[in-house]
């Protein structure tokens, strides 16, 4: 088996750049195909494990958390697309009757929009390392979120008192379904806000706090935009 000494492949250069143990050129076997199939980028992005103390771990975990947040957003969006497709198909059928929505929904919408503003305030404060201010803003966001859910329940109560029940018309059924499932997602967001307040009280760098707040804010803004979309759909 003939062997030669040759310039180390690109793999080695990349590994060295990324902090792997430097090694001298080594004898390799001619004709080898260690990188089959060809043109493989030599290094993965891996940060080196699922837990631990290295900075790579923290980075990888932060990336994973952000990615997971967006996947939750994607999954919830797809579920509401399922509802929407049924809504659109049913609303095109003869006999479809849209009923006037409870006026309270406008106030609830305003409350949810305000909560997005305070959420953004919390996120920016966390990024600047202003932990106490960020916690206050998160607290206000939580209260506004609770007020929104309570407002939605009050709107259902108004409709029920007026005799509009889910079994009465398809539009009413969609209102109870869409606003109910959305309220459940807001309740999940309230859990995230409480986690955020707890997280801000724990030790960590401003970057870690900001990363955590950004993920919570992404979800909160998403449920806000989702409600705007659903409200418009129900009004349509």
């Amino acid at each position: 088996m003939p062997t030669t000494t040759r310039k180390p492949p690109r793999t080695r250069h990349r590994l060295r750049r990324q902090g792997a143990a430097a090694r001298p050129p080594v004898p390799v076997i001619a004709g080898r195909r260690v990188d089959t199939p060809g043109r493989i980028p030599p290094n993965g992005r891996g940060g080196g494990g699922g837990w631990g103390g290295g900075p790579g771990d923290d980075e990888a975990r932060a990336r994973a958390a952000t990615m997971a947040t967006w996947m939750v957003v994607a999954a919830v969006t797809l579920m509401f697309m399922g509802f929407t497709s049924t809504y659109v198909a049913r609303s095109a059928e003869p006999g479809w009757a849209r009923q006037d929505l409870p006026p309270l929904l406008w106030w609830n919408t305003a409350v949810l929009l305000a909560s997005s503003v305070t959420m953004e305030l919390a996120r920016r404060r966390a990024r600047k390392g202003l932990v106490a201010g960020a916690r206050r803003a998160l607290g206000v966001t939580t209260l506004l979120g609770l007020a929104f859910v309570a407002g939605q329940v009050a709107a259902w109560a108004q409709w029920l008192a007026a005799g509009v029940v889910a079994s009465g018309s398809t539009h009413a059924a969609f209102f109870y379904l869409l606003s109910g499932v959305h309220a459940a997602h807001v309740a999940g967001g309230l859990g995230a806000l409480l986690y955020g307040m707890w997280r801000l009280g724990r030790p960590g760098t401003p970057a870690q706090m900001a990363a955590s707040m950004t993920n919570i804010a992404t979800y909160w803004h998403f449920v806000d935009v989702l409600w705007l979309y659903l409200f418009a759909l129900l009004l349509w």
Binding site: G53, R63, T86, R90
Partner: protein, 592 residues
């Protein structure tokens, strides 16, 4: 030497031992564990128990279909409610049909492959210590038994298990008793579990790969499990939305799908099959990955066309979302739309053929070691070809209209997403058992299990195509009532007897599994001389997977029988640094 060399090469990496404490209490270690390997074994064992339940229901169905009208006093003694007067109760039969399909698709195949193998293999094969979100992983598993409780509870409530089939088409599912509501809640919870798991698989694969493990060096199992998780992320929400609306219909008096109140049952079919067809690939893609891995390892040859295998996986996943209409050819679809769905359906044959020919090329002129795992992998290819060919027939609206809802369809999908996926599970179990439990399974029993299963499956599902051609409808309780089906009695006897052989063979597997788990011979670290990272870890891997530092990856995972290798070396593992390659095999390094 190589071990030492490898350790030296790893010296630059952070050592993680000591950063994470291994749980000591029994409950945290084995029950509410956050360790991906324990969760994988929990998923696998629970899904195998569910397979036994689903298989038992299938046996009962074959008792009825093989000898309709005959009395079974023994079964009456065992299950007086299901066999009133010695004959199977029709309601129980339809409940068994529904629950058999539900259990096998959701609670066995999906969970065994995407819950069991994904959990076990992804961190180990990418060189991570655990999933990105271990607690979410644990929650994902524990939602699974909750879903099982809801599903099985439907047998014990008034009205029994739902009889609307695993597709739960309204208006029948709108009118079924309480069991149907429990079924819907169960499916909703299960989808939540799968989503939680899928988020972990995707984030872990993308973020926690070890040094050198580029996406182009991922083992094909990880590729398919990763793509499967993506498919699930896009498919499961559709069923969750549909299930919620049907629950509203049933308990809230709404009429989303119930035509009696102006609802549209076809909308359910669209939503269900938008999920339902990708679900076929959620089941079969991981099996394809497992088979690719097992074939290369036991054939001692590189996987043929690695890049095309990855590309075809992505193509199948993408196409799976635009073919759902082929399940609805008989629902009054316009011919233009039908032609479009036919084209996309038949297009899946291209990436599927790429995979099939690559498997055949991988084993062509190889030095195949016919272990039980290899037999199951080869058997998978056979079943996949058989089932795939009949899929082409059903993908055409003109032929589908004749075969729709006949036993031809039952035969087809049992070959593809039943038997082939089952063979993927078995190939994976026999292959990775030594790594999971640190012991070897009995090969002789494994081979007996394989041959009985293989013959049992062909004896059971192949004749079903002839039943379909003769016009026998699926989900039928008393086919003998139809005069034109008089000629299929012999076929139904043969099918039932084959099914019993198939079922009995699984008892051999169950014995082998549990006996070997505790009494099997101790496994080496790398008993199959494989190249992927999990074989670098001890058998079974410790908490945190790697003794000290995570491995570094130097090459792709299928470096088998390389021409450049020294005499006696037929594989170069991914973790072996190059100085060790020259001497691999002389000191057992390559085989470590």
């Amino acid at each position: 030497m190589a071990h030492g060399g490898t350790q030296a090469a790893l010296a630059g990496h952070a050592t993680h031992a000591g950063h994470h404490h291994e749980p000591q209490s029994f409950w945290r270690r084995y029950i509410f564990s956050t360790d991906h390997k324990i969760i994988a074994i929990q998923y696998l064992l629970t899904s195998l128990v569910m397979a036994a339940v689903g298989g038992f229901l299938a046996m009962l169905m074959r008792v009825q279909l093989g000898w309709p009208g005959r009395q079974w006093p023994l079964l009456e003694a065992l299950m007086p409610n299901a066999f009133k007067g010695g004959r199977m109760d029709p309601d129980f039969y339809y409940g068994a049909v529904t629950m058999h399909g539900t259990i096998m698709v959701f609670f066995f195949l999906t969970t065994a492959l995407s819950g069991g193998f994904a959990n076990f293999l992804i961190p180990l094969q990418i060189g991570a210590r655990d999933m990105a979100f271990p607690v979410l992983n644990m929650i994902s598993y524990w939602l699974f038994p909750v879903a099982i409780v809801f599903a099985l509870a439907s047998f014990f409530v008034q009205g029994g298990a739902p009889g609307s089939g695993w597709t739960a088409y309204p208006p029948l599912s709108d009118r079924e008793p309480l069991g149907q509501t429990l079924w819907l809640i169960s499916v909703f919870i299960l989808m939540l579990a799968f989503l939680a798991g899928g988020i972990n698989y995707i984030t872990t694969t993308l973020n926690l790969r070890t040094k050198g493990m580029s996406m182009s060096r991922l083992p094909l199992t990880v590729w398919t499990l990763f793509v499967t998780a993506l498919v699930g992320l896009f498919a499961f929400p559709a069923l969750m939305a549909a299930a919620l609306m049907l629950i509203f219909d049933r308990v809230g008096g709404t009429h989303f799908f119930d035509p009696a109140g102006g609802g549209d049952p076809i909308l359910w079919q669209h939503l269900f099959w938008f999920f339902g067809h990708p679900e076929v690939y959620i089941v079969i893609l991981p099996a394809m990955g497992i088979v690719s891995e097992v074939l290369a390892t036991h054939a001692r040859k590189p996987v043929f066309g690695y890049r095309y295998m990855v590309g075809s996986t992505l193509a199948i996943a993408g196409l799976s979302f635009i073919v759902w209409g082929h399940h609805m050819f008989a629902s009054g679809m316009s011919p233009t739309l039908g032609s479009m769905f036919m084209a996309t359906t038949l297009a899946i044959a291209i990436p599927s053929a790429v995979k099939t020919f690559n498997w055949l090329a991988t084993i062509y002129r190889s030095k195949m070691r016919f272990t039980t795992a290899a037999l199951y992998a080869v058997g998978f290819v056979s079943l996949f070809i058989t089932g795939g060919l009949t899929g082409i027939i059903l993908g055409n609206p003109s032929t589908d209209l004749y075969f729709h809802d006949t036993y031809f369809v039952v035969g087809h999908f049992h070959f593809i997403m039943g038997a082939a996926a089952l063979f993927g599970v078995f190939a994976g179990l026999y292959h990775w058992f030594p790594k999971m439990f640190g012991r070897m399974m009995n090969e002789r029993l494994g081979k007996i299990h394989f041959w009985l299963t293989f013959l049992g499956i062909y004896g059971t599902f192949f004749p079903m195509h002839f039943l379909g051609t003769a016009g026998m409808p699926r989900r039928i309780y008393s086919w003998e009532a139809y005069q034109f089906l008089g000629d299929v009695a012999t076929l139904n006897h043969i099918i039932s007897i084959s099914a019993f052989v198939l079922g009995a063979a699984q008892l051999i597997f169950a014995f082998n599994l549990f006996y070997s788990m505790f009494r099997g011979p101790k496994a080496e670290r790398n008993p199959w001389q494989a190249n992927t990272l999990e074989w670098w870890a001890p058998s079974p891997p410790p908490h945190g997977n790697w003794d000290e530092a995570e491995p570094v990856v130097y090459r792709w995972p299928y470096e088998y029988s390389p021409k450049y290798a020294p005499e006696g070396v037929d594989h170069i593992p991914q973790w072996l640094p190059e100085p060790a390659v020259a001497t691999a095999g002389r000191d057992g390094a390559g085989a470590r």
